[in-house]
């Protein structure tokens, strides 16, 4: 499905995918118009700093912008901000906008990302926060100076990063996690131990196997009640329990959706001329064979670049080992590949390294804390399909 260089490419969603795709299309010689449609008022910005440096005050909102004013001009891209897409008509090849307008496309890229999951037990009180957008981050940053006690629901990456920033400001922090170990969905139970240690060493209380059954407060949040009957006072409550893909606007278009827009390893959806990438999409990875929603910065970036290649007539597929980083305190936590049923941990001089293996004695994932070089090597070993005994040897030599 290659397309003429002059085709009109419409990207719905104005995040990392939109910014990367625009750069890549121009780099690959696409000359046709590019339009980005976003429901936000901001030009595309980068999300990772929101739960880290923006909260800590070391990066300003302006510095998170992925497309600076000069880029917009150089890349000759039209931004339609505060314009939520409401529907898709693949026969007429039109995006329907919430204000009733229509926008025709030759090629459409669905890049609407995801949003923070809401919990039915959590009411919309003042002091209750989710974190997905720049506005969310600004609101939390403004509230933090007055906060004495923070409760985080969900020991996911975003919740733990906020916990770390708050702890650095001497705020009392408790993290409540329903599962037996933090991040167990991504990292498996063993690696969760590494993460607990990181936080407990700094005085964060991590309550696993506990569930918030009620949030109390009248004007503002006062605290949470756990299933064991204990009450934890809080003046700020952060809910970080995962994200759901923004696919509602595609309902009725006939596009295949199954926990995200279903894509092949080049980003093609079930509809002609329609691609999807980033957090909203569920791609097939040609290397691992996995079919998953990545929800990772690097994957969104790579997928956007593969789509740009496909749109300009190339034949690249997505075949790299998925990779994720997180900053917690002064440590960099990095993870690549997948968590497997087998794992082995070693505490190197720099920090812990955990290897993951599958049932067939092959290395499938690596977690490092404070050791980017080991992660880089590990990622290569995963890509090469290294056998478990060789991986163990490598670990022993670190």
């Amino acid at each position: 499905m290659s397309t003429a260089a002059g085709a009109h490419v419409v990207v719905v969603g104005g995040g990392l995918v939109a910014a990367t795709l625009t750069r890549e299309l121009r780099r690959l010689g696409h000359t046709g118009p590019i339009t980005i449609v976003s429901d936000e008022a901001e030009v595309p910005y980068d999300r990772p700093p929101l739960s880290k440096q923006v909260l800590a005050g070391t990066v300003t909102p302006e510095e998170t912008r992925l497309l600076k004013p000069a880029d917009l001009e150089d890349l000759d891209v039209t931004l339609r901000l505060e314009q939520p897409a409401a529907g898709l008509n693949p026969v007429a090849r039109e995006v329907e906008l919430a204000d009733g307008g229509r926008l025709g496309y030759d090629v459409l890229v669905v890049a609407t990302g995801s949003r923070a999951r809401r919990l039915p037990t959590v009411p919309e009180l003042s002091g209750v926060h989710h974190l997905r957008s720049l506005d969310d981050a600004t609101a939390i940053a403004e509230a933090l100076p007055g906060v004495r006690r923070l409760v985080v629901i969900g020991a996911g990456f975003i919740g733990l990063e906020v916990a770390a920033v708050a702890r650095n400001r001497d705020i009392e922090v408790t993290v409540v996690e329903t599962a037996a170990r933090p991040l167990s969905r991504v990292l498996g139970e063993d690696a969760g131990e590494v993460v607990i240690e990181l936080h407990e060493e700094r005085g964060v209380e991590v309550r696993c196997s506990a569930t918030v059954v009620e949030v109390r407060g009248a004007d503002g949040v006062e605290g949470v009640l756990l299933d064991g009957g204990e009450f934890l006072p809080a003046d700020l409550l952060l809910v970080g329990v995962g994200a759901v893909p923004n696919t509602e606007w595609l309902e009725g278009s006939g596009i295949e959706i199954d926990n995200g827009v279903v894509c092949d390893d080049r980003g093609r959806t079930s509809l002609p001329h329609v691609y999807a990438a980033g957090d909203v999409a569920r791609w097939r990875n040609a290397l691992t064979g996995a079919h998953a929603r990545a929800e990772q910065w690097q994957s969104a970036l790579e997928q956007a670049s593969v789509v740009a290649d496909a749109v300009t007539g190339g034949g690249r597929v997505w075949d790299t080992v998925p990779y994720f980083w997180s900053d917690q305190y002064d440590r960099k936590l990095q993870f690549c590949g997948a968590a497997g049923p087998v794992s082995e941990r070693r505490d190197t001089a720099r920090g812990p390294v955990v290897l993951f293996g599958d049932g067939d004695e092959q290395l499938v994932g690596v977690l490092t804390v404070g050791n980017p070089r080991a992660l880089a090597q590990g990622r290569r070993l995963v890509a090469a399909g290294t056998a478990w005994p060789q991986a163990q040897e490598w670990l022993a030599g670190l």
């Binding site: 690097q298 970036l301 980083w325 960099k332 990095q334 070089r373 880089a376």
Partner: protein
């Protein structure tokens, strides 16, 4: 191709190393990026491109 890095911008994400470990490294003391190779081999161009693109703060510039 020539590679240059801006340590004042680098925020030590190490994404560049993950993409191109033979071309970039982090300095032992400062933790900031260094280019091990200033004029990479054509065989390394792809990973150098990937590394520059993977840097969230665009601390790596390629002169082609």
């Amino acid at each position: 191709m020539k590679v240059s890095v801006d340590q004042s911008v680098c925020r030590e994400y190490a994404n560049c190393i993950v993409e191109a470990p033979d071309v970039f490294d982090l300095e032992e003391d400062s933790g900031k990026v260094v280019a091990l190779v200033v004029e990479p081999d054509p065989a390394q161009f792809d990973e150098v491109h990937a590394a520059a693109a993977a840097c969230p703060v665009r601390a790596i510039t390629l002169h082609e």
